[in-house]
């Protein structure tokens, strides 16, 4: 059973790679090289801060966009083009397909992020010529970004289990933006009354919570990250992703594949 999930995950990864998803890395590398060259020459005193902000934000945004688009394309494509028919006529359970896809997509993003992280650290080294202890927190920031991808990918899969590719992309992107401001949404909900308050609070807890996963400005200023935050973020992201994938399985299990 789990072997099939592994095969599907590996195949998804292979497909993403051959579909030239990883070409985005070239663009990112160029960005990093350009930035570190530029900031190396201008002594503005805060060049490290700006490079960290730029690099980590780029990793985050590129990754979210990739997560949404390959998450959706790779699943919708299979459903529309009927590659799925020959898969499901084999002893593959529908839920194995979803979980396997999720695993493969996540793995693709981890690989992608690792390459980007290497490029980022190289650019950083070129700029600062040595690492400091506080740079460990940069790794934590990147880890949080990966957690963010896990949640976004799960959401993208959830939508593509029932919606068309275009709509799925739109919804996933919208949820990402809303999730970035979910703390404010909870604040709004706390200030309202009655039925609106109940509804708003429910929504504010159900939308993903990306605010706590973004520690970019802190690590840019070499502020430490508490281990409690790491624990809570990890728990939250995994639970939320599991819920989204369970939702995707639920929908997909009962869906008639036209």
């Amino acid at each position: 059973m789990s072997a099939r999930v592994g095969y599907i995950a590996w195949n998804t990864f292979r497909e993403a790679v051959r579909d030239r998803v990883l070409y985005n890395l070239i663009f990112f590398a160029l960005l990093m090289v350009g930035a570190s060259l530029l900031f190396g020459q201008i002594s503005i005193g805060i060049s490290k801060i700006v490079l960290v902000n730029l690099g980590l934000t780029a990793i985050s945004l590129f990754g979210v966009i990739i997560a949404i688009f390959i998450g959706i394309v790779l699943v919708s494509k299979e459903i529309e083009k009927k590659t799925l028919y020959t898969i499901l006529s084999r002893p593959v359970r529908r839920w194995e397909f979803i979980v396997g896809k999720f695993g493969g997509l996540t793995w693709t993003l981890v690989v992608n992020t690792t390459c980007m992280a290497l490029g980022f650290f190289a650019a950083l080294l070129a700029l600062t010529h040595s690492f400091v202890r506080a740079d460990v927190y940069l790794l934590i920031a990147i880890y949080f970004i990966v957690l963010q991808f896990v949640v976004v990918t799960a959401i993208a899969l959830l939508f593509s289990s029932f919606s068309s590719p275009v709509l799925s992309a739109v919804f996933a992107l919208a949820l990402f933006v809303i999730g970035t401001f979910s703390e404010d949404l909870r604040g709004f909900a706390a200030m309202s009354q009655g039925g609106t308050r109940v509804l708003a609070t429910a929504v504010a807890y159900i939308v993903p919570n990306f605010g706590s996963l973004n520690v970019i400005s802190q690590v840019a200023h070499e502020m430490p990250i508490s281990s409690q935050l790491v624990l809570y973020n990890t728990a939250y992201s995994l639970l939320y992703a599991a819920a989204a994938i369970a939702g995707a399985v639920l929908i997909f299990e009962r869906r008639n594949l036209k």
């Binding site: 292979r14 028919y85 020959t86």
Partner: protein
């Protein structure tokens, strides 16, 4: 044990956005396919053939009724290892090579790691794609893709093979090859259930056929049974000018250069030969015409449901 037992299987969709109307894609279907048979599932486009196959594969869920494959309910996951499926106009992972795709499918079908390599090579050889094993699928022609499709359907040595329009997109040589392959599958003791709207293929291969139209099963029986009513026609080929006297008798006529081929009723045969002789034309051949499934089809499709003979 029957390989496939379908009982009252039916599927209704609701269409329309505001006012939901039910649309019946498949009226309750009951039929049985015996072990080792080649069974043809015929019908015009939109008759419900693909719907039936998708129901059997568990890709869509029935509105009623059910089926058993190899004695187990059709949604039992354990039978999936023993069936193979080729969908209509299949599409595969573009960026994989033929060998990689088949290896992937072998993994999913539970073929052990030791056997995978040999099985994949064997089946590639069987469908004649050994030379293309390392070519990415997006570079293969439609006919080759169809062969890949058949390859993935049989690679794990299933007992029952379901093919949806297996000849579609193939040139005459390809079609002949697929026909031969299906025949070989039967020799290996497999049951083959294939749908098509090309009747000559069904005629050549099938032990029994079922005819479907507008979601409803019209008739089921052996090819021989369906075409056994000799329509009592004779084909006459002669050389020379057309005899006017023949026009009355002729059902069909076709001329190429100096040779003419006509179809006349059995009863009119003597009169026709006489007319040809009188016109000083040269008689080339006289043969009885076996009615084809096509005749049966054309005749029957517009008619109300016929009882199973």
């Amino acid at each position: 044990m029957a390989a496939i037992e379908i009982t009252g299987l039916t599927k209704t969709y609701t269409v329309g956005f505001w006012r939901k109307r039910p649309k019946c894609a498949l009226k309750p279907l009951t039929l049985t396919v015996e072990d080792g048979e080649i069974f043809g599932y015929l019908g015009p486009n939109g008759a419900g053939k693909t719907t039936t196959l998708k129901l059997l594969m568990g890709l869509i869920f029935p509105s009623g009724g059910g089926a058993r494959i190899l004695g187990k309910p059709m949604d039992d996951p354990s039978i999936k290892a023993q069936i193979g499926f080729l969908p209509e106009q299949p599409y595969f992972y573009d960026y994989l090579t033929a060998a990689e795709l088949l290896t992937y499918y072998a993994q999913l079908s539970g073929v052990s790691a030791r056997e995978r390599r040999t099985r994949v090579d064997d089946v590639l050889h069987r469908v004649g794609l050994t030379d293309s094993r390392r070519t990415q699928l997006r570079k293969l022609s439609k006919g080759m893709l169809q062969r890949v499709g058949i390859a993935q359907a049989i690679l794990h040595d299933p007992k029952v093979v379901f093919l949806d329009e297996p000849m579609s997109g193939l040139d005459p040589i390809g079609r002949r090859e697929v026909r031969d392959l299906i025949a070989t599958l039967k020799e290996e003791g497999k049951t083959v259930f294939f749908s098509t709207h090309i009747l000559s293929d069904a005629e050549a291969l099938c032990d029994r056929v079922a005819v479907l139209n507008k979601g409803e099963l019209r008739v089921i029986g052996s090819v021989g049974e369906l075409t056994s009513r000799a329509q009592g026609r004779v084909e006459v080929i002669y050389q020379g000018i057309r005899a006017a006297a023949l026009d009355r008798l002729v059902i069909e006529s076709h001329s190429t250069g100096e040779t003419t081929r006509i179809i006349v009723a059995q009863d009119s045969l003597d009169a026709a030969i006489e007319a040809i002789r009188r016109a000083n034309a040269k008689l080339l051949s006289v043969n009885p015409v076996r009615s084809t499934l096509e005749d049966y089809f054309v005749e029957k499709i517009a008619d109300p449901v016929e009882a199973v003979p």
